[in-house]
């Protein structure tokens, strides 16, 4: 930007003007970050050492909230529920989305229509999809039992059965794989055709090409989708809040629902803050671990 023949003071003045402009345009984020991320995080950390019911002034209780959460069976159950949900749902979502993306990059008729169709549920407001799925799973009048009945499957109680409630939520999560699918489709389109041609000349069949070209080339996107999906799955709670209220027998009491309840239903604000910090550390640990392990399997082009 600064041409060589500019005198030094002018360059310096220009740079100062650049800085001012930089801060001016970045101001919304700097203010937003301080006001809506940094300060709340600090505030929440402070809250986690208090007992605070919003009616009486906060009282310092030291580490009491943290020792409590380690022994709280409900809090631990909510962690277990979220782990269970995430560990089963995410790999299945990845496989399903990847297979769909592979299929939808073949030269099919009406391909865009299929892509739009599989993406469509993403657009449905979460409240609307929750009230629909609540009824899809209805033991007597829901379409799931009805359609399964055509194949001779006995009606199941789904959301009323503690053993089936989480699997039902996992099934419901497949409705939202459109985002992953679109990302995979975009990635598949970026793999150079020359790689496939070379492999074909060497006599590689479709399965070998998938194993030795497509999957390695797609590992960065698989990794990316996995990180985001794990974070999202751990945070799932709105369907549970609307459909099951955490039941039956706390089978769908997920971490965030438990935190939400402690804070906004029982007004244990300090305890809720402590729980949310525990959750934050767990998510952070998971994400860092994934980035650390990614060196072993994610393939980045030079």
């Amino acid at each position: 930007m600064a041409a060589k023949n500019f005198s030094i003071p002018l360059v310096r003045r220009n740079r100062l003007r650049d800085w001012t402009a930089g801060y001016f345009f970045a101001a919304p984020f700097i203010i937003g970050f301080l006001a809506f991320y940094a300060f709340p995080m600090g505030y929440s950390l402070w809250m986690s050492f208090q007992k605070w019911d919003l009616l009486t002034p906060p009282k310092f209780v030291g580490l009491a909230n943290f020792t409590k959460l380690l022994q709280d069976p409900i809090a631990n159950l909510s962690l277990y529920n979220s782990f269970y949900y995430t560990v089963i749902a995410v790999p299945l979502q990845l496989i399903f989305a990847f297979a769909l993306a592979l299929a939808l990059t073949q030269p099919l008729r009406f391909r865009d229509l299929y892509r739009g169709g599989f993406y469509m549920p993403i657009l449905i407001p979460i409240v609307a999809s929750a009230v629909v799925w609540q009824r899809v799973f209805h033991p007597e009048f829901g379409i799931l039992n009805e359609t399964l009945g055509w194949f001779g499957v006995e009606p199941k109680k789904w959301l009323f059965d503690p053993a089936l409630a989480k699997p039902a939520f996992i099934l419901m999560s497949f409705w939202m794989i459109g985002r992953m699918m679109v990302i995979f489709i975009a990635g598949l389109g970026n793999i150079p055709a020359s790689l496939y041609e070379a492999a074909s000349l060497d006599g590689a069949g479709p399965l070998e090409r998938l194993r030795h070209i497509t999957i390695p080339m797609m590992t960065p996107l698989i990794f990316y989708n996995m990180v985001i999906a794990i974070i999202n799955s751990f945070q799932t709670f709105i369907p549970a809040q609307i459909i099951t209220q955490g039941g039956p027998e706390n089978a769908t009491l997920f971490v965030v629902l438990n935190i939400y309840r402690q804070g906004f239903d029982y007004f244990n604000m300090g305890y809720a803050a402590a729980l949310s910090w525990e959750f934050f550390v767990i998510i952070l640990g998971f994400t860092v671990a994934q980035f650390y392990m990614s060196n072993r399997w994610v393939f980045y082009e030079q």
């Binding site: 001016f24 700097i30 809506f36 991320y37 300060f39 409240v127 999202n232």
Partner: protein, 291 residues
Amino acid sequence: MTTQSSIYTPLINPKLMRKIGLFFLQILLSLLLITFLLPAIWMVSSSLKASTEVFAHPIVWIPESPQWKNYTRIFEILPFARFAWNTFVVTGLAVFGTIISSLMVGYSFARLNWPGKNIFFALMISTMFLPEIVTLIPRFMIFRELKWIDTFYPLIVPHWAAVNAVYIFLVVQFLRGIPVELEEAALIDGANRIQILLHILIPLSKPVIASIAVFSLLQHYNSFIEPLIFLRSMDNWTMALGIRALNDTNVQNWELVFAAGTMMVAPVLVLFIFAQRYFVQGIALTGFGGR
């Protein structure tokens, strides 16, 4: 596929094999898509059923005489016109703020140099991985201190401060793909930064603005947890809260709940049909999209 003849002679013509394979794939995908969309189809069809048809066995897919009154009935039960207006106001103002603030901040990150920029950029990226609940509880306390609970401010003001890093990232990614020469020429001609943003970059950024608009519109229109926490009186509710209340109070009247659901989905589907390429582009640029 290559035209090169292979060294071995296959038993069946590979081109024919491939055609047969694609044909079966097409059938399989069609069946899968129908299954996939069944809940949505069921919702729309049930929204027009008489209450007896909803609980019929086997399932009635096409209602005998469409009950349009289901749709008018929900407006009698709850003030859905009011909810729609509230949703419109909140979504409109939040989307507008998101566009303006993301463009400003994205421009600053992509084009300007200032001390601390790299740190703030890293912080911005890291907020995308931060679970919402962690800041939601303290934000509630802050808004409570400000006497903002049961107003629209908590749902709007943060978005004027670019709290959703995804959209900033979208702008940064987009601007990185635009050559800087035009701006440099304008600078030499004596234009200031605001003029450059307004007269050069914003016109060039129309597609990315459209992507931000559709995604943030979807985000605010669909938003449930924030209205749930920050809004109290029914006068201030959004559509999402209205549907939840209808679902809780009309447990037996499935057709009404489905009608409300369909009513809320319809505008989004129309938007998608017209703005599909901005969805795809937004996802391609950032890897994000939808929730």
